[in-house]
Symmetry: C2
Subunit: 298 residues, 2 copies
């Protein structure tokens, strides 16, 4: 049996006349007769009673007609869905994000993507940079978000956005009273640094900036993420450099201040990372959205 048999069968059942059905199918009558005979023979069932006025469905034929229509509808649906999936409009995208720094760009980005591709289910996985890389290689995620990503042979990195840095200061801290804070002054105050874990990370960025300005920072505490860092600032552990999107973290007793006389490159990137050999149309659609986002915010 064949989808052609079903198509022909449905046509004959609907027309109740082989000649008209053949015309509708743009074939001549004899091959259609033969196809119907073949179908009946293969099923071992008489689907039509032949009358001098045409073809009439038997009870078995009526039942088979329902099923045939179902099958044809399902085939149509299958092709349609496969095509949408092939265009990245349907399916699932697993995204790796890092603990807390998803404060501004990532939600906006995901929202924009969801609007454009409503039938793609986006699944978020919170994981560290190292976990993201492993998960990408194992294909548990298709794209990861992180900062300070170093080039890798099999993974492609695409920058999403760049943020300048601000200083989180306890409200009673001496620096909080100053109208202007110069970057070099940070050498006199203990700092909270984050994140712990795989290097290079934002920590190295901060230490590098200090080195560029000719000093080593006093490290009061290293913590896992920005939220914890700002919490320690609130607790008086010291000051902390954070990306400006962290200002959405409003802690009582913490104020954010801009810095003067900053070294060059006083900013940190947010990038996404994905497998170079990933041809998935959903990833392509997502990266497309990322590019659109970057242009909008540039």
């Amino acid at each position: 049996m064949d989808l052609r048999h079903l198509r022909y069968f449905v046509a004959v059942a609907e027309e109740e006349n082989i000649g008209r059905a053949a015309a509708r199918l743009h074939i001549s009558q004899p091959p259609l007769t033969r196809q119907i005979q073949q179908l009946e023979e293969e099923l071992g069932v008489t689907l039509f009673t032949r009358t001098p006025r045409g073809m009439e469905l038997t009870q078995a034929g009526e039942l088979f007609l329902e099923e045939a229509r179902n099958i044809r509808a399902l085939v149509e649906q299958a092709t349609e869905r496969a095509q949408r999936a092939g265009q990245g409009k349907l399916g699932r995208l697993d995204v790796g994000i890092f603990g807390s720094a998803i404060l501004d760009a990532i939600p906006k980005l995901l929202l924009a993507f969801r609007n454009r591709y409503p039938d793609v289910k986006v699944v978020l996985h919170t994981m560290t940079k190292a976990e993201q890389i492993e998960a990408l290689r194992q294909r548990r995620i298709s794209v990861g978000f992180n900062r300070m990503l170093a080039p890798l042979a099999d993974l492609e990195i695409r920058q999403v956005t760049t943020e300048t840095l601000l200083l989180a200061v306890p409200a009673r801290h001496p620096l909080a009273a100053q109208p202007v804070i110069r970057f070099a002054e940070l050498q006199d105050h203990p700092m909270v640094l984050f994140p712990t874990g795989a290097r290079p990370s934002f920590i190295d960025k901060v230490i590098g900036l200090c080195a560029d300005s000719g000093f080593q920072p006093q490290i009061s505490q290293e913590v896992g993420d920005a939220v914890t860092g700002v919490a320690l600032v609130a607790g008086g552990f010291g000051v902390c450099l954070v990306p400006d999107s962290a200002t959405t973290l409003q802690f009582p007793g913490v104020i954010y201040r801009q810095l003067a006389d900053t070294p060059p490159n006083f900013c940190v990137d947010l990038s996404c990372i994905y497998r170079k050999d990933d041809q998935s149309p959903i990833l392509a659609a997502f990266l497309n959205t990322v590019d659109g986002y970057r242009e909008d915010t540039a």
Copy 2:
């Protein structure tokens, strides 16, 4: 697209290797490669990523795999159901029965049929003899049950059973007191006759029997069916000849008595009637059951 494409696609998706899939399908590798390419081209979707280790489904491919399996299962189910329908094991049988005389044979027969063909839905329609014939011709029913059916050009009649007649007598009736009632005595007593409606019917049978015995019955009342007739007997309207299955109608004040010296053919048939040109396997199965029933009760 073709069911073959789906079969091949599922095989390749399951084996993740064209060579093995080809072996499983008992074809060689190149045509299989080509069929998969055709399928992908027709859908406009890449279903597999080709790796040096074999074929790996894309996300679109995985989705299509589900659908393909569904479709194949549905096709299998459709053939199976069509075949069962073709064998009369699945479907629907519309049966015409008459008002009340379905007292013994018909329920037993329907029960036997239902046991043998549990997936055939039997729909009962109560209708008169004339309505049955019209409904048969219009194909609203496939088989009817009645008595005293006269031959018709397009309808076949098959006798189901034969019943002798009994006399329903009011308990206080003079005849009730006699140890033996002879048929000829009925000429002295008013009788209730049934059914009204299309002739010839059971009424003609009774009148004919009386004529054979040399008298005309005194008609006290004509009624539509046996139940009403026996009710009138209970009300003292007279006696009434009924088929012996009517003894299941137990009315207070009515007793059933056998008759002596009855004329020949002192019995009435129950037959079923169906279209001569009806090739329906369900009807065939039903008639088969009817034959079995007749043999069992013979």
